[in-house]
Symmetry: C2
Subunit: 342 residues, 2 copies
DNA sequence: GTGGGTTACGTCAACGTTGACGTAGGAGGA
DNA sequence: TCCTCCTACGTCAACGTTGACGTAACCCAC
């Protein structure tokens, strides 16, 4: 205990004194390095145990030549969003296999906050970062990358060169969804999307356009609503669609919270069994609603796993060209996307 | 760059050399300490900027007398569970206000994994921990606590003395739910619970018993199913209830995944509009199902906030007696809990 | 002009650990 | 016997930073 009554953690010095060996020998024993006789190993182990000694990773990483902190940073948009949470969990699992811990943060899609968090992580000398980049503001990330920090972007690709990324088949899957709706006779298919600054939103919108084109449908601007942040905005926007003279017979919602908002609007007007709906991103209980919600399901565990694997490869010194992994999403038919045009 | 082509982070030494001052003066400028003239401050700032200098928090915390790493550990059961994710997010928000980052981990309700993670955190010298303790195995936590690590338990109270905790009104709210069902005429109210080793499960079961007693109902053992881990087990268990000669007319499900499983069973038998259901823990979209699911909603942000505040108080040296905060849950009426007995 | 205080620096050692290197003692071969 | 090599230790310095303390220069009052 020191003067403030705080117990001091014991150090190699303490263990060395008790075992009557040098600090360096303790270091050898603790790290299972050769150069310590069996008898000494025993004595040191016993001393360490009796003092409750635990190595100080910060001191060790400061001194060691590899400088590893055995910690990576994971910066997502909102850790409480089910998508982000599942991603974090997948990354954490892979990290654990490498004896690495995860420093997690929510950027809230705020460029300043993202920059601040990146600095915070750098200050703690994390070995690498997995980042869901804030839309349109990647200069802070690029600077960090240029300093040599291993970095992988998830969900959204880098706007600069030399960085790995893992994304979903946003465009292709969106096109597939729209074609599916068109094949059921829908001609007025609405698009509801998240903030336009997000790359995923743009891609999904492009896929929507491609789908319309492939199906021989023309784009009706009045059926497109973008920049919807959160379920509330989505609900309000969806509601206005049904005041049109020619309202949509099908909706394609390009993000999970937007899907939820649109569903609320449909229900409020008792349209949920008449208007078709396909959403991007699966969510819990989508199958238990009536009708079940047809979605494009991203393979979130695969996204997280791949992202983690890429950072760890880089941390291990992989110098090959940047990888841009794309994980396919699947169209899950549950009913809402199978409502025919009326 | 060193021999491996890895750029070395610049240090105070580099900045000092460039600004032609001593390292100590750089330290003073970086930390906004007095004792540096305005001209020197400018020179040092410019040098630091041009070198892209960023302080090394690990070195700094090693040397400083307070030893703070500006990092706390948060150990939950499963970061991808919506409840855990919301909790993490709430803790993270409070941590950020203290310029503290969060090391997050999932214990998966495995005592060995929990112990390993606690050691991992300790090795990184976190300033404190917020832990959702694994059911029935708290000795590792107790040891850590006894070493002086600030620790707060969330969701489940400590089984040892001297540690703060934040929990919900598990028992009282469960009783309230059962009484609510009884007031609608239900006499055969079933209990479906998570693993019995969990304190929350036990409390909720006790609340159930109290509710029955207050309502003048006798416990029917055949209506009680416990140790249901995950929606699958819950669904199977719920299904068997309806093969009884006298099946329940109402269900009280004591955990969110159990609620989901039970709902699936009800739907499979088309009973979801006939059998009443109240679940512990709210979940997204509970209001959009038909009927809406009546739940006991925990105030997750308040739980997380309070837990974070308690650790930070302890980290700041608060030596007062342990606090056991209890955050009230609310009964949210949505329909499923208002189905009368038939 | 001298004493006392303040300001703006600098020097040194230490936090806990590990890499580089030194050394005593024994084994083994010529 | 002497030389070499190996094993099992030890010593020393350094990682990047900060606390303790030293000191030169200057200000102000008496």
């Amino acid at each position: 205990m020191d003067s403030r009554g705080v117990r001091r953690e014991s150090t190699m010095r303490d263990v060395a004194a008790l075992a009557k060996v040098s600090i360096k020998t303790v270091s050898r024993v603790i790290n299972d390095l050769p150069g310590a006789g069996p008898e000494v190993v025993e004595r040191v182990r016993a001393a360490a145990l009796s003092l409750g000694y635990r190595p100080n990773l910060t001191a060790s990483s400061l001194r060691r030549s590899d400088r590893r902190s055995a910690t990576i940073g994971v910066l997502l948009e909102d850790l409480s969003n089910p998508f982000d949470a599942a991603l974090l969990r997948a990354i954490e699992d892979r990290a654990r296999q490498n004896d690495v811990l995860v420093l997690a943060g929510s950027s809230e899609d705020d460029p300043d906050l993202q920059r601040e968090l990146v600095t915070s992580l750098a200050t703690r000398r994390v070995d690498g970062m997995v980042v869901m980049a804030v839309g349109g503001h990647q200069d802070g990330l690029q600077q960090e990358r240029e300093r040599g920090t291993p970095m992988v972007l998830v969900d959204r690709p880098p706007m600069f060169d030399g960085t790995d990324s893992v994304t979903t088949t946003n465009r292709d899957s969106s096109r597939e969804a729209v074609l599916h709706l068109a094949s059921l006779g829908h001609r007025r298919i609405s698009f509801l999307g998240d903030r336009k600054t997000l790359w995923t939103s743009q891609e999904r919108y492009t896929g929507y356009l491609e789908g319309l084109a492939h199906a021989g449908l023309t784009l009706r601007e009045e059926l497109v609503r973008t920049d919807l942040h959160g379920p509330g905005a989505a609900e309000a926007a969806a509601a206005t669609l049904f005041d049109l003279d020619e309202p949509p017979t099908a909706l394609f919602t390009a993000q999970n919270l937007v899907t939820v908002g649109a569903m609320r609007a449909l229900r409020a007007r008792e349209l949920h069994r008449r208007v078709a709906l396909i959403g991007f991103d699966d969510f819990p209980l989508a199958d238990m609603l009536e009708p079940g919600v047809t979605v494009l399901r991203q393979d979130v565990p695969a996204l997280g796993r791949k992202a983690a694997e890429l950072v760890f490869d880089r941390i291990r010194g992989d110098k090959s060209a940047p990888t841009h992994a794309v994980v396919p999403a699947t169209l899950v038919h549950r009913g809402s996307g199978e409502i025919p045009s009326h």
